[in-house]
Symmetry: C2
Subunit: 497 residues, 2 copies
C-alpha cells in the first residue's frame, strides 16, 4: 500500500525523495534574472495546503462530551476538527505541504533561495523543521537556501511570510524565490479546550509580481509580554491556556493593529478611510475558533464608529446604534456586555460577504495555530464565488495573532501578474490548484472514540526516542509523508506514502 521513495544517502543521513521533483520539461517557476525593487508587488505566487485524512464532527463531539447541544458548533462556531495520531508530526505535515507545492505548481527546486517555517509544534528543541525540509531539495543539488524555523505561538507563519517578502525584495534573492510554511498540530488535554484543536499546513511560494501582493508600508504590529497561551511543560504536547486573558489580548491587538493599519493606508491612498469596507473588500483573521473571528470583525466596525465620532463625523445607519459606546474610554469597552450584545446584532451581512469566504477550511479543520490565518487566505483564494479571478483588484486585510504576544494586521491586493516580468501563476490557477471544496470532501469522518484514541497515541509517543509510532499508515493520505521511526539517538525518519 505504501512504498517509501526514500533511501539513506550515507554520511549526512539525508533522504532523497525522487517522487516530488517537478516534471521535467515544465517550467512554471525558474530563477528570474532581473532584480526587483521593494515596490515590485512581492507576495504570494502560489499556495498549497495539507489537511489530515480524518476529522471528527463537533456535533458528535458535543454528544460524546455530554455538553449542551451547540456548545461547540455555535458557541465556538466550528463544524469539524481535523486530527492525526502519532504517525504524523510537524515535520511530516510540512514535508507533505512543501512537496505538494513544488509538484503541483511545477516549481524548479533550484529557483528557491529561502525557506522559512513557522510552527509551535516542536519535536526537537534544536533541529529546525526547515532543515528537515531540505531533503526535498537534495536531489536538485540546491543547498544555497537561507531561512530557519520561527517560533512565537501562532505567529511564526506570518513572521515567515514577512521575512520572505523582505528577502525577495533584497539583493540577496539574486532573482530566486522563497517558500514559507505555516503549520501546526493543535492538541489539548481532555477538557473544555480540547474541541479547539486542529491540524494543518500551508506552504506558499513568495516572489515579485505576485497575484496576491503584500501592500508595502501598510502593516502595523502589536507586541506585549503576556502569558495568555504558552507551553511550559517540556514533556507534554499540551499548552497552558488562560482563555479569557488570551481573548482580551487578541481583541486589544485587533484594536491597536487596525488603528495603525488604517492610519498607514490613509497615508498611502491619500484619502480618508471611513469604514472597514472602505479599507478592505475581504478580511481574514487568525482563527482560534470561528466565534472569535466573528467578534473581531464586529470589533472593527466598533472601531470605525469610535474613529468617526472622534473625527466629528456622523455615524452611518449601520453603526448608528453604537453611538452611546463610541466615546467610552477604551478600557471600558473590552468586557462590556451591552456592547458585545449590540455588536453581535449588527454587521451580519458585511461579515458574510467580507469574512465568510475565508472561513471554510478552518471551520472544518479547527485551529492550525501558525497555519490558521494562512489556511483562511487559502480558503479565500480558493473560494468559488470570491476567490480566483474575482480577487483581481480587491483589497484584502489579514490579521495574525500569536500569544505571548505579537500581532500584525497587513493588507494584500489581488492582481493580474504582468507576465512580461516573469512566468507566474494567476489567481485562477491558484484557485483551481487548491480545489478546496473537493479536498475537504475527500476526507473521512471519524468517531469521537477514534479521535480520542488518536490523541492517546500521540500522548504516549510524545518525546519518545528509539520507537516507532503505533498509528496505522492507512490513515495517511496517498502521497503524504509520515513518521517511520525515531532512532535510539532521537533522529526522525520519514517516508512518503
Amino acid at each position: 500500500m505504501s512504498s517509501t521513495k526514500a533511501k539513506v544517502l550515507g554520511l549526512c543521513k539525508r533522504w532523497s525523495v525522487a517522487g516530488v521533483l517537478p516534471k521535467s520539461g515544465g517550467a512554471s517557476f525558474r530563477t528570474v534574472t532581473s532584480s526587483s525593487s521593494p515596490s515590485h508587488n512581492a507576495g504570494i505566487l502560489a499556495a498549497e495546503f495539507y489537511i489530515p485524512h480524518r476529522y471528527v464532527s463537533q456535533g458528535e463531539l458535543e454528544k460524546f462530551d455530554k455538553v449542551s447541544s451547540g456548545k461547540y458548533t455555535v458557541g465556538l462556531g466550528q463544524a469539524n476538527m481535523a486530527f492525526v495520531d502519532d504517525r504524523e508530526d510537524i515535520n511530516s505535515i510540512a514535508l507533505t505541504a512543501v512537496s505538494r507545492l513544488l509538484e503541483r505548481y511545477n516549481i524548479d527546486p533550484k529557483s528557491i533561495g529561502r525557506l522559512d517555517v513557522g510552527t509551535e509544534s516542536l519535536v526537537d528543541k534544536s533541529k529546525s523543521t526547515k532543515t528537515t525540509l531540505m531533503q526535498l531539495f537534495a536531489p536538485s543539488g540546491n543547498r544555497d537556501i537561507e531561512g530557519a524555523t520561527v517560533m512565537n505561538a501562532c505567529y511564526g507563519g506570518t513572521a515567515s511570510l514577512l521575512n520572505s517578502v523582505a528577502w525577495v525584495n533584497s539583493p540577496e534573492a539574486h532573482g530566486r524565490l522563497a517558500i514559507y510554511v505555516a503549520c501546526d498540530i493543535a492538541v489539548y488535554e481532555p477538557g473544555p479546550a480540547r474541541p479547539t484543536g486542529g491540524v494543518g499546513a500551508v506552504a506558499c511560494l513568495v516572489g515579485p509580481d505576485a497575484p496576491l501582493a503584500l501592500v508595502p508600508g501598510a502593516r502595523h504590529s502589536h507586541s506585549v509580554d503576556v502569558y495568555d497561551f504558552y507551553k511550559p511543560k517540556m514533556s507534554s504536547e499540551y499548552p497552558a491556556v488562560d482563555g479569557k486573558l488570551s481573548q482580551s489580548c487578541y481583541v486589544t491587538a485587533v484594536d491597536d493593529c487596525y488603528a495603525g493599519t488604517i492610519h498607514k493606508l490613509e497615508k498611502i491612498r491619500s484619502s480618508e478611510i471611513k469604514s472597514v469596507e472602505d479599507a478592505f473588500d475581504h478580511v481574514a483573521f487568525h482563527s482560534p475558533y470561528n466565534k472569535l473571528v466573528q467578534q473581531s470583525f464586529k470589533r472593527m466596525l466598533y472601531n470605525d464608529a469610535r474613529r468617526m465620532v472622534a473625527r466629528g463625523h456622523a455615524l452611518p445607519e449601520l453603526l448608528a446604534a453604537l453611538a452611546p459606546f463610541a466615546s467610552l474610554p477604551a478600557a471600558q469597552t473590552l468586557a462590556n456586555k451591552d456592547l458585545d450584545k449590540l455588536l453581535s446584532s449588527i454587521g451580519g451581512e458585511a461579515y458574510k460577504r467580507m469574512v465568510g469566504p475565508s472561513e471554510l477550511i478552518s471551520k472544518n479543520i479547527g485551529n492550525s495555530y501558525t497555519g490558521a490565518l494562512h489556511m483562511n487566505l487559502v480558503s479565500l483564494l480558493g473560494d468559488a464565488h470570491a476567490g480566483g479571478a474575482h480577487l483581481e483588484g480587491k483589497s484584502i486585510g489579514a490579521f495574525s495573532y500569536g500569544s505571548g504576544a505579537i500581532a500584525t494586521m497587513m493588507a494584500f491586493k489581488g492582481r493580474k501578474p504582468s507576465t512580461s516580468a516573469h512566468q507566474s501563476t494567476s489567481l485562477s490557477t491558484i484557485a483551481s490548484t487548491l480545489n478546496v471544496a473537493s479536498r475537504l470532501k475527500e476526507r473521512v469522518e471519524a468517531s469521537p472514540e477514534e479521535f480520542t484514541n488518536a490523541l492517546i497515541l500521540r500522548e504516549a509517543f510524545y518525546g519518545k526516542i528509539g520507537a516507532s509510532p503505533a498509528g496505522s499508515i492507512d490513515n495517511v493520505p496517498k502521497g503524504a509523508f509520515y513518521l517511520k521511526e525515531v532512532t535510539k539517538e532521537g533522529g526522525r525518519i520519514y517516508a512518503q506514502k
Copy 2:
C-alpha cells in the same frame, strides 16, 4: 543587595523596568525620517553583550576530570568556560543584554520597530523570548515591534541579523531601527562534551549607515538535512551530539559557503580573489571550540589552493606545499590525515592576524551557540589593536553554522558613518562601550566543583513549574536580570539586580 525595579501591571502580567530607560535629554538613536535604499550600508550600529559572573578554568577542569593535561586547553583550544546555575535562564540573559544595549547607547525605545531573538535554549515551546523582552519597551508605550524567536541550533542569531537588515531596508521600517539578540546557555551531560559548554548573549542595534555594514549580495548559504547536533529529549536540557559528523558537516559548509562568497565578491568587485587575504582583512567564525576555528581557517587556505590550481594559477609560497592535495576529489580531502597535518603547519601568522582578534571572548566563555559568531564579532569590534577605528575600510568575513544544518558566510565592511544621514555611533564608540578586556577581568573564577554543582541545580530545575530557583542571587552581576520564580501555571517572573 538586590532591588527589583519591576512590578506587575495588571491584566497582561507585564513587568515595567524603569531603570533601563534611556536618560532623558540624550538622543543617540531616534527615529530617522527619510527612508533608506537597499544599498544604504545597513548593518550593526551598536553592540552589547552579557557574560555570566562566574567561569571555570579549562586547565582546572582537566585536573578535575582526570584527563590528560592540554586536552581542553590545547585539544579544544579553550581557556575558560562561563556558566550559570538555575537562577539565570535564556530570558534573563537576553533581558540583560537588551537592557544594556538600550541604556549604554542611550537608545530611545520608540525608535525600535523590530526585535528578533535567536536561541536554542528554550524554556517554553510556544511563548517566545522576544515577547518576554517586550517588558523593556512597555514603559515607552511602543508596542509596534515586529519580530519573533528564530530557532535552528546555533544559526538563529545570524538569521535574526539577516532578517533585521532586510527589514531596515524595507518600506516597513518607516525610519525605525531593529534589534537582534543572539543568546544561548550551552550545557552538556557529564562526559567528554561537557567542557564544550558556555553561556553568552549579544544584542545589536541594526540600521542604515552602519559602522559595521553588511555587504549586500555577497553572502552564500549551505543547508542540508542532517542529525549532527539536536535536542530530541524534551525533558532534558542536554543535546544529542554526533561530534565527528558535526565537524565534517561544519567543514563541508565552510567549503561550500566560502566558494559561493568568493564567487559573489568577485562579481561585486569585478576582480579576481586569489586568497582569503584578498577577500578579507579579518574572519570571524562560529566557534563550538577554538580548535575547529583554527582548522576552518586553514581549510579556507586549502580552498584557495584548490581554486588557484583549478584556474591554472601557480601557487604562492605559503600554499605551495598543498599542491599534491589541490586536485583531489573533494570527498577525499575531508578526513585526510596527511592534509590535516600539513594544514596545521601552515598559515599560523595569517591566522593570528586575521582570526586572532575575534577569539578573546569565546576562548574565555566557551560556546554560546547562536551567540558564538556574534560574540566573536564583538571581540573583534572591541579589540585594542584591530578593533575600533582600526576597522575603518576593512573587510570582515563571517561564517555562521547551525546544526541540522544551515550555514552562511557573509561579508561586512568597517566604515565611518556619514553623520549627515542620521545620528550614529562610530567604531570607536562601540569599542569603548564594549570594553571587552575589562569586562572579562570583572568575572570571578569558580572551582570545577562549583561548576558541577551549578549544572546539578540546572538539571534539577529544568522544566519545573510552581517553583523558585535554588541558585544564589550573589552570583548574578549587578544590573543583570534573574529568574525569581516559575508560577504554578508555568509563567516566568524576572527581576533586575
